[in-house]
Assembly symmetry: C2
Homo-oligomer: 243 residues x 2
Amino acid sequence: MSTPESDVGSLRVGRVAAPLREQVTDVLREAILDFRLRPGERLVERDLIEKTGVSRATIREVLRQLTAEGLVTVIPQRGAVVVELTRKEAADLYEVRTMLEGLAARLFAERASDEQVKELREQVDVLHSAFEERDSADQRIQTMLDVKDRYYDVFLAGCGNDQIRSIHEGLQARVRLMRATSLGQPDRPAQTLSEIDAVVAAIEARDPEAAEKAAQTHVERAAEQGLEGLMQHSEDGAPSSAS
Amino acid sequence: MSTPESDVGSLRVGRVAAPLREQVTDVLREAILDFRLRPGERLVERDLIEKTGVSRATIREVLRQLTAEGLVTVIPQRGAVVVELTRKEAADLYEVRTMLEGLAARLFAERASDEQVKELREQVDVLHSAFEERDSADQRIQTMLDVKDRYYDVFLAGCGNDQIRSIHEGLQARVRLMRATSLGQPDRPAQTLSEIDAVVAAIEARDPEAAEKAAQTHVERAAEQGLEGLMQHSEDGAPSSAS
DNA sequence: GCCCGCCCGACTGTCTGACATACTGGGCCG
DNA sequence: CGGCCCAGTATGTCAGACAGTCGGGCGGGC
């Protein structure tokens, strides 16, 4: 061990210069999740080269990465396309997410420090005030989504299981993607708030069972709403254009 | 080869010529899971080029893929390394896997066809007879692992949620990887058998709750055993060499 | 007039070679 | 003896090239 043992490990320099490849990955991921690249759209390497300014090799590595993340599908000899989620796939994703958030909630209630519980409550408060804000509807929804992201950060950090976080991230991304086809009912904010309140309340009471249950209920409700928008579409395909 | 339209759809040609990249990915993945590439080992691109015979571009795409699968980590400017699982990471993985298999078992009990249940039972029977076999210990263990893989195939197919399968695959791979450091107690086969029996029995009884519980118990037991081997090692690192 | 088969353009899959940059280890100098 | 500098090593990224495949359009045959 060369590392001079004093209190090393906490003073790492933040590695400012991210590899180009990762920057591109982030940019593309954002573009997909923002629907600037829409589900079903082909990702032609040459176009991406022009748009991003990096070389083909880099682009291809990025595409592999996004493929593994489940955001793009690759058709052999045809290349990458932005994933289109089937209704069934979306339902399956929600099912897993239900379990996962339930687990996270239970663990949070069992293991988190009082500090973390307090922090979680604070995030919920912020969420409430974001809801109260009188911006335009669009504005408010965006704000709430952002705040909710931070809520989830605390939530998944506090449960003490890092694997949950990384898996949840992937699920979350794809679920978000699903809203492409639905786009329908964006706001059921009040309901969301009370569901989350229930989760945090159970956590504050240090009641793991209740927390798990509440978290599951929350995702199930979200699933109902989310899937509803897909119902109108065909049985199991995801035909975005031409009827 | 102009597929004459008679009863097409069932006679797909199995796409024998997989993209080179995927073959290489498979080979490397196998090598990692077989510990021919051991945890902590550096994966130097030039070496891999020599060993696999493909070009650097291809190798790099493969490494990205494996990175995303969680089998290798990349240290910036230093390259890829076969992952070394921390005791905590392993524990976290088991926690998630517990939930996941519990969910799968519940869904299986709820949704699978009688046919599928029967098939599952058959796999368990095969597992039993593999256990009875009087091969060398090593031989038997290998056989049981193979059979168990097939059991899981049926199990995860029958639960009807494809997302579970893909996530479980990833977890499974990394958990297997963990045995690198432990290597300790490979066989607790009898215990395993009875636990699985319990799961399938509950499924046959179409009792989702019991099935979920039994499946969770199974993974928890496996986790205890699996993690035990890691205990002897240092707190949270995974120092494979020199103490 | 319609259908079949051929051909062409568009892309991907893969390879080669090259260059800048960052890390490592070791020898040299003060 | 300790710190500095340097060359070797490996990654990060780019440019260009070429074969193979897929799809669609065009033209000829029936």
